[in-house]
């Protein structure tokens, strides 16, 4: 049986056994879900884009049960702390926890996401959320309205390029956004 912490372990494993920051973990699982991870976690819109309290609880469980270890580090520029999640035993992750993606494909994708600037990742997940779940055909205007400071310096273009690269091209058509839109609600 696959428990929620097994999904967390699978994603950290796919990222190379180490995944940096809670925001990156959230956006990675969200984007991998759109590609077939099938985490079963329910997402909602929060201040860094799609966020899952289920995933947050599963991460806590993974740490409580000794599956994943959390290390705290500090950003050099201002000392702000962030988490690094480290898989305790890389041989322990379960193949079924990678969903239809499979371990090899999950690792390719997670590696790409691990190398992406965290704000670009936030923007990519938010664009996907806007058209897919909020049925927002004009997601470009909407994300500029919601995150005016973050979309500058070519970051939005990089986010869209990332989505294209992941084969998650955002829909610019209202009918497609409505037709493909589904509920982000799934239960574990």
């Amino acid at each position: 049986m696959i428990e929620p912490e097994d999904k967390v372990a699978a994603v950290v494993d796919a990222a190379g056994g180490k995944l940096v920051s809670r925001v990156r973990l959230q956006k990675t699982v969200y984007l991998l879900d759109q590609l077939g991870l099938g985490s079963g976690f329910e997402f909602e819109y929060y201040h860094y884009g799609p966020y899952s309290r289920d995933l947050d609880i599963a991460t806590g469980d993974a740490m409580a049960l000794g599956v994943v270890r959390e290390e705290i580090r500090h950003r050099a520029s201002d000392g702000a702390s962030y988490s690094v999640f480290i898989l305790e035993d890389r041989n322990a992750s379960k193949e079924q926890a990678f969903g239809t993606l499979g371990k090899t494909r999950a690792a390719e994708l997670a590696s790409k996401l691990a190398d992406t600037h965290v704000t670009v990742l936030e923007l990519a997940a938010t664009v996907d959320w806007l058209w897919r779940y909020e049925h927002c055909a004009d997601w470009r205007s909407e994300i500029v309205r919601r995150k005016p400071m973050k979309v500058g310096s070519g970051r939005l273009d990089r986010a869209i390029a990332l989505l294209n690269d992941l084969t998650l091209r955002p829909s610019e058509s209202a009918s497609e956004a409505g037709a493909l839109a589904g509920s982000p609600v799934t239960s574990t």
Partner: protein
Amino acid sequence: MFERVQKSHAAGRKHEQWTADIIRDEAGWIRPLLDAHRAGFAGEVASLLAAEDPTDIYHAVVSSSFDADRLDYLRRDRLMTGTGAGAIDFDWLMEHIRVREIEIDAVDSDAPGDTIRVPTFCFDSKALPAAEQFLLARYTLHEQVYFHKATRCVEHMIERLLHLLAQRAKSPDTASSMTGLSADHALLRFFAADSPSVRDYLAMDDAVITSALGAMQAAGDTDIAELAKRLNNRDLYKTLDLRAFGEDEGRQTHWARRIDREFKDKLVAGKVIKDADAAISIYTQIGGDDEKVYKKLHVLDQAEGPREITTLSRMIESLRPRRQFTRYYFADETDRDKARQPRGGIR
């Protein structure tokens, strides 16, 4: 709580959006006051409240480590609950508040490349002890007031009651008889609407819900009637806090899974309520993502500029790890007693 009920009934809007709508409302009394100051000013204020991220220092008054909301509730809730804990040195903090730019990106590794900086409030180093006290006050109020088991239990019972009301409100022919409320009651009007108006929203407050408890005891829906009666008589559900099984979080997780399994049907029926959303750290909000960078508290280091306070204060750093308060609330006390019986390998 109210936002969660709205969200599950397809009328989900955040309180910031409602506030912006109230300010923009042409029939309201706020808009003329603001527009009398300068044409279009109400719209600017509303946009500021609805914005996710800051673009200027005015946003910090609404949303930052030292915003007006925090300064209000920390002092008001302490006064109104009568707790002796959680005092802050307001005047000293105000004296030493400064404006500096900080990075707005989510905190992650130090990736090469551009950074975005926005102005926000931070404190002169002389205010470090007062800043520690300020964060400690917020922590203490969460621990002793907002996350008190009775507070959380009542909130969850009311949330369950509102869920049931919202379901019944969607059937206008039976809404009144099944809830005990008059057909034009503010609660039914709000939950019946697909897109509730600002008027419907403003008609909802604590007094409306409290005063409706009497009528709801005559509801045709027995779950509504029972919850209303229990809330009215302060006959609260019985609490089981997972910390009763020890502080080891792995052990708590095993117990939670056993309770989830054994009481699966009653959890679905609302006869047992699980509360996994109360977690506390020096910054964390209830069930939230990483706190926004500009809501973390920065203190000026003379050599390095604004530094996040956990790097300067060992006391605050020690309170950074999140503590989880997972609780179950049981309608039936014998179920609570059964749930905490050691059995099946978990003791």
